[in-house]
């Protein structure tokens, strides 16, 4: 711990010609960082770069095989992988949710809005009691066109669900294009989801 161990101070010496290039190093680093940041900002707009997105192995693939029973009390058709097979008339959203999930309440108005605008939203009720799930839809409204019950949570495992709520976008060919873990807030809707829906329309 003695000061004798100090590295012999490389005081920025009077710049000799050979070391002149070092003075350009900060500029070079800043320019490289700037270029990188620019790519990120561009990617934010196109959806290629998303700091919040957790990558999904399903991206660019068809969803795994599954067939789920309906939620009886909700009076909706059930959901199976065949319903997501292309060609589809337009992109569809698959939303994993549960009545016990607080963020699901936060994102619910956005799902309702999308559903009113005619975007097909398919729901998968995850690890939930049937009465509780139906009660949730009665209280908050029903945005789903089809609804499957995944009480054991098997299908969620096949999809690689991170937690509820979680939403996937399936394009017209039936390929998963986007995954979002967490509530679809109005910002996420406007910034991420709407551009994607337009792009895959």
């Amino acid at each position: 711990m003695s000061a004798h161990e100090e590295p012999t101070a490389p005081a920025p010496a009077p710049a000799s010609r050979s070391r002149r290039w070092m003075l350009y190093a900060p500029l070079g680093l800043a320019a490289a960082a700037g270029a990188g940041f620019y790519v990120m900002l561009r990617g934010l707009q196109t959806g290629e770069y998303d700091p919040r997105g957790v990558p999904s192995v399903l991206l660019g693939r068809t969803p795994p095989e599954f067939s789920l029973p309906p939620l009886e009390a909700a009076n909706l058709p059930a959901l199976a992988a065949t319903d997501l097979r292309g060609p589809l008339p337009g992109p569809v959203l698959v939303n994993f949710w549960a009545s016990w999930c607080v963020p699901c309440i936060i994102e619910h108005p956005q799902l309702m809005r999308l559903s009113r605008e005619g975007v097909p939203v398919f729901g998968i009720n995850y690890k939930d009691r049937a009465e509780a799930g139906a009660g949730f839809l009665r209280q908050h409204g029903n945005p789903f066109r089809r609804l499957g019950r995944d009480e054991p949570g098997r299908v969620a495992i096949d999809w690689g669900v991170y937690g509820v709520p979680e939403t996937y976008l399936v394009d017209r060919q039936g390929l998963v294009r986007w995954r979002f873990a967490g509530p679809i807030t109005p910002e996420v809707l406007d910034r991420d989801l709407r551009p994607l829906l337009r792009r895959h329309a």
Binding site: M1, S2, A3, H4, E6, P7, T8, A9, P10, A11, P12, P14, A15, R20, L23, Y24, P26, L27, A30, A31, A33, G34, G36, F37, Y38, V39, M40, L41, R42, G43, L44, Q45, Y49, P51, R52, G53, V54, P55, E187, R191
Partner: protein, 652 residues
């Protein structure tokens, strides 16, 4: 009407800032005294217009003017007045206005207090500040106008984010911005010096108070943020290596290096190129933080809601200022040849070591913060760099830094003898080893906390040894008091700031042996933690001014005697139905008892209980550090800040 007045004031400020960024610079280049003379009045005019704009914004929030969309988004009539005001700068647009207001204040201060500054240097500094101000004012007007109207006005605002209704958070941004923006001034000095092609002792003398000011406020700002995270987020931690936290730490690290290297410029006329580079870097790091927080490129609890257009604008500003300054640096720095000679074992040598270590830590933090972003765009891999990386990568750099702090402070300029400095520190070394050893043995061998405690003791005792040595306490105790009074305040400030660092490290080391537990208790049941008995008495409903809460009453006893009654709450705010946890904390300055109420099921409440030894010291130490900076700043030699007459500068 008032919001339009504010908008107009902003536009006027842009015009004045553009004039300020051109006229004085041309004047300095042409040596025209009248053109250079415009610097002061233009800076003052810009200050007045920005202040008027900020006042108008505060007014709109105070009267809850719901025709202003910023008020609608961020305020609500049910908020207490203080949080209406803090709401004005708690959002993106308002905080930018505060940012330029502080920048204008700094410009005004350079103009007002800089009478002894050489006219050309002063004109250039104010001109460069004008560039910065013009860019950010244009940014506000084009992408983030805080005075945008909405029609028809909604009946009331929506912004009642309860997490933000907090005194720590109300003060956190102004403190942080005072720090960030303070580095705009040192940046302006650096660019002015490059334009002039000259860096001398007087320059160093001028940069020092500004870097001290910025550093002191940044220290307080970071400490406030960390304190807020500790008591408000309810996770029981104080630093999470979150990217936004790192973004505030980076300018602090570089600024700390700048603070020390500017001393070398002033006293030894050396390290000039390096100091100029650091001054540019410190501001670059401040701007980088602004960019990261506001552009949306990273994911953080702190990030503002944002759109990419703003990100592109800030990036453009960042590149103009930082890359522009670096280009100027590459071109002009070779002129700044040092004249002073340099011995490695000397105070200046120790300060170089300090700079190397601080900058290495900054490089590690920068790499860890940005790597996930760049890895994503380069390879598409999603990685996260977390506390384990930062802790293991910074510790090997921080330990030698702390070890060298007291030694460096004891070494004289030019030529020192490290052995002599160590001899005067033997008792500090002994004390620190003893404390570390006791800690190790008494607490069951927690290695890192014990090292931390030894480091803390080393800094505290080292600072005491430094002062004792300067006032010759052991050699001539009779005159010690006289000498203590005569000791320059800058010397006291340095010793106090170093000791403050020791106090903070002690707090961190104490948190290293913190314990916590998660229990579900029914009323009447109790649990034990860290020798205390924690008993849940009841959980009741409480009505607050704009929220309803569930409040747990937890009685903490030790050996049968009641220590305190803690009342953690879970609040639900009516307007936006958000829930927050209010941690209950009891401190006796040596430890915190910390309780958080979680969810309730079947009459049982889930409680998270923490015992945090020495936790308050983390923030207490930061206040001491800022006090040290303030004391240094009040040093007569700083205030006068002109080349003093010969003999007036005592060897510090």
């Amino acid at each position: 009407m008032i919001p339009e007045l504010g908008h107009f004031a902003l536009a006027l400020a842009v015009v004045l800032a553009v004039a300020q960024s051109v006229l004085p610079i041309i004047g300095a280049a042409r040596r025209d005294a009248r053109w250079m003379g415009t610097a002061g009045p233009l800076a003052a005019g810009q200050l007045v217009s920005v202040a008027v704009a900020f006042g108008c914004l505060l007014w709109a929030f105070a009267v809850n003017d719901t025709t202003v969309s910023n008020v609608v988004a961020n305020s609500h009539s049910a908020k207490p007045l203080i949080y209406k005001f803090s709401g004005a700068w708690g959002n993106h647009e308002g905080s930018m206005v505060l940012w330029v207001l502080i920048l204008a204040l700094c410009g005004g201060a350079v103009a007002g207090f800089g009478r002894d500054l050489p006219t050309a240097l002063k004109a250039r500094v104010i001109g460069v500040l004008g560039w910065v101000a013009a860019g950010f004012l244009l940014f506000i007007i084009f992408t983030s106008n805080p005075f945008d109207r909405v029609w028809p006005p909604p009946p009331d605002g929506q912004g009642l984010n309860p997490v933000l209704q907090d005194i720590g958070l109300a003060l956190h941004p102004p403190m942080l911005y005072l720090g960030y923006v303070g580095y705009a001034v040192t940046f302006a000095f650096a660019v002015a010096a490059l334009l002039e092609g000259r860096v001398d002792a007087a320059w160093g003398r001028w940069v020092r108070p500004w870097s001290l000011m910025a550093w002191g406020f940044l220290t307080l700002g970071i400490a406030l943020g960390s304190w807020w995270a500790y008591y408000e987020l309810g996770w029981g931690g104080y630093w999470f290596w979150d990217p936004v936290e790192n973004a505030s730490l980076l300018p602090w690290l570089v600024g700390t290096a700048l603070l020390h290297s500017a001393i070398v410029v002033e006293k030894r006329d050396a390290l000039k190129i390096w100091t100029v580079l650091l001054a540019i870097l410190a501001f670059a790091m401040s701007l980088l933080g602004t960019f990261l927080v506001r552009s949306g490129v990273l994911n953080s609890v702190h990030a503002f809601a944002n759109d990419p257009a703003r990100g592109v604008f800030i990036l453009a500003l960042l590149m103009i200022y930082v890359a522009g300054a670096f280009a100027l640096f590459a071109w002009r720095a070779p002129r700044l040849a040092p004249t002073g000679i340099f011995a490695p074992i000397s105070r200046e040598g120790a300060l170089v070591l300090n700079n190397l270590l601080l900058c290495s830590i900054a490089a590690v933090v920068l790499a860890g913060t940005l790597w996930p972003l760049f890895a994503d765009i380069l390879t598409g891999a999603k990685i996260s760099v977390g506390p384990p990386f930062f802790n293991t990568a910074t510790a090997p750099l921080a330990i030698p830094l702390v070890l060298a702090m007291p030694i460096g402070a004891m070494m004289p300029w030019k030529r020192a003898d490290a052995w002599g400095a160590l001899q005067r520190l033997w008792w500090a070394a002994l004390a620190s080893l003893a404390v570390g050893f006791l800690y190790l043995v008494a607490l069951g061998y927690p290695v890192w906390p014990a090292i931390g405690m030894a480091m803390a003791m080393w800094l505290l005792a080292g600072a005491a040894a430094d002062v004792a040595d300067r006032i010759a306490l052991w050699r001539r105790p009779g005159q010690a008091w006289q000498r203590a009074k005569g000791l320059p305040r800058a010397a006291w400030g340095a010793a106090i700031a170093h000791a403050g660092m020791g106090v903070t490290i002690a707090g961190v080391a104490g948190m290293g042996i913190a314990t916590d537990t998660l229990v579900a208790l029914k009323p009447g049941e109790s649990t034990r933690l860290a020798g205390y008995e924690w008993r849940l008495e009841s959980i009741t409903d409480v009505q607050g001014p704009n929220y309803a809460a569930r409040r747990a009453t937890v009685t903490v006893t030790r050996d049968g005697a009641v220590v305190t009654v803690l009342s953690p709450e879970r609040r639900t705010f009516q307007v936006d139905r958000q829930t927050t946890t209010e941690a209950a904390i009891h401190t006796n300055a040596l430890r915190d008892l910390y309780a958080v109420l979680g969810e309730e099921r079947e009459e049982a409440g889930v409680l998270r209980l923490h015992h945090n030894p020495l936790a308050p010291w983390i923030w207490f130490g930061s206040i001491i550090m800022a006090l040290g900076a303030g004391l240094s700043l009040s040093d007569r030699r700083m205030r006068v800040a002109a080349p003093a007459p010969k003999g007036a500068t005592a060897p510090a």
